[in-house]
Amino acid sequence: MSQPDRIFIKGNEAIARGALAAGAKCFFGYPITPQNDIPEFMSQAIVDAGGQFVQAESEVAAANMLLGAAACGIRSLTSSSSPGISLKQEALSYMAGSEVPGVIVNVSRGGPGLGDIGPSQADYFQSVKGGGHGDYKLLVLAPGTVQEAYDLTIKAFDLAFKYRNPVMILADAIIGQMKEPVVPWTPEHRDPNEGRTWGLVGAKDRAPRLVKSLFLEDGALAGQNLKLQAKYKRMQSEVDQELFLTDDAELIVVAFGSIGRIVKSTVRKLRAQGKKVGLVRPITLFPFPADVLLGLAKQGKRFITIEHNMGQMVEDVRLAIRTVADSDFYAQLPGTLPTPDDFEEPILKALEG
């Protein structure tokens, strides 16, 4: 078997190419650093693939265009970065409430406010905890490499349509701007008419379809919320994480995305020095690998959570293991660019502590 062709591309381009491989037909974007490569690439590539590109008047509008296109059962996406994602939260709440599948890419940057254009993971809360109004969940996927950014974008579309729910790719400026080799691939056997039972196409020879999130009748909203919660429970089966040298580890480092990848190098180096440390890198942030963490906690392992923010995912780690253990936390300050060496000291301190 011959070696598949590899291409050397940025994470942003990998996400765009992954979306095309997944069969995306509509892209709605707006310029914001550090995700501009995605709309720039798509402005040509998705049109060449027979799709539609719209540079919207705002992130608000781009997300609402996604709501409309996705309600037709067409694979569609939007991309932005943190301040722009704040603006998209309105439409995300509507998409979740009216069960419309779409993919939202967040190449996150530092905040709050205008923050900076450097890498940050401070959008964990606004991605995983909802962000907009109401009780809803996005499926949230956090790539740690450029190849994984490509792969997870394909997966994002499958999950979106499987659950009729918005799915967020939570990357950051490191993943988006870093170049790595990628082996592109195209999924097989995709149903080209997967929205046929619910998509808006015009009410011909059947009753009209209605995509809505307004439920005013007595008990109707309660019913809708119970239905959504049951769906979020079913999504638990999609949980995914990377476990690295956890079996005999005394200390588990929990880190996601680009930071998880950098910490992996730190863990390797400390292992060479005989230190018994391991890594859990959540790949799905919702659903969160709480059971995996609890299992490790029950084995008597200790924990440190490392994030590129002031402490967000650590709350979920603590919730997961609260009955048997706790987690230390180390904040890599947003807007800085860490190396594996930066994490040695906090990990050793937690190991000795």
Binding site: E57, A69, S76, G202, A207, P208, L210, K212
Partner: protein, 253 residues
């Protein structure tokens, strides 16, 4: 006992159910104009309705069409997404003045300017109806509302926005017309305008826009008859009726 005689009929796409609109409200008339245009042009089975926020949020209860709800003001963006995803479908938004001319100003302007091949029916009754009669972007100077109890002050809040004139100035617009439905004569003209708007979409000419001057007797604190009269005496003088853009007309007004 009186005998009920059916003297006319209504398009099948209009559902047979009690209305939630107040007595004398013009939404019902505007709904019917849309229903007639879609029926006459044979578009019913091929149309996607994009609703908005306001009293007409329930329009999908009255028109038997595939439909979607939009967040407040975003209907033109939602419609853009639908039309791009399904270019072979007829797509229209139905929006009130608060929705379109205030919170949704960016979306309507850019949708029109891009020349999205959709139709917008804009119902202007100069108040936020559903929330209880607050001042709208189209509230006339001097008009009393629950948030302008002494009458709209031009000094503090500016004056009523004339949307059709603004829309007509944008490059992507094929057709922009302002109509009223307060008299039989005006309804006839409105009927033609709504039909023309959908015809232009079928022809792929670009964005088409019909503003309908409408009553809100409840929030105007008027009888339906007095409200109809107000359209004539106060609204039409400020919001003149007529065609503001028509790419197929030989001479534009």
């Amino acid at each position: 006992m009186t005998q009920e005689l059916r003297v006319t009929n209504y398009p099948q796409v209009l559902t047979d159910r009690p209305t939630h609109y107040c007595p004398g409200c013009h939404h019902g008339t505007a709904h019917r104009l849309v229903a007639e245009a879609l029926t006459d042009l044979g578009l019913v089975e091929n149309t996607i309705l994009v609703g908005s926020i306001g009293c007409s949020v329930f329009i999908y209860n009255y028109l038997s069409l595939d439909a979607i709800e939009s967040p407040h003001g975003r209907a033109p963006a939602v419609a853009t997404g639908i039309k791009r995803a399904r270019p072979d479908k007829i797509v229209f938004t139905y929006q009130g003045d608060g929705d379109l001319a205030s919170i949704g100003m960016a979306e309507i302007m850019h949708c029109a300017n891009r020349g999205e091949n959709i139709t917008t029916i804009f119902v202007n009754n100069t108040v936020y109806g559903m929330t209880g009669g607050q001042m709208a972007p189209t509230t006339l100077v001097g008009q009393k509302t629950t948030t302008s109890p002494s009458g709209r002050s031009q000094e503090d809040t500016g004056s009523a926005i004339r949307m059709t004139e603004i829309i007509a100035s944008l490059g992507g617009v094929a057709y922009a017309e302002r109509v009223a439905v307060n008299t039989i004569k005006n309804i006839k003209k409105a009927q033609k305008a709504v039909r023309k708007a959908f015809e232009y979409q079928v022809k792929g000419l670009g964005f088409s826009f019909v503003e309908v001057l409408a009553t809100c007797p409840t929030n105007w604190h008027m009888t339906p008859l007095a409200a109809n009269k107000r359209i004539e005496t106060e609204m039409i003088p400020y919001f003149p009726l007529g065609t503001y853009k028509d790419v197929l007309a030989k001479e534009e007004k």
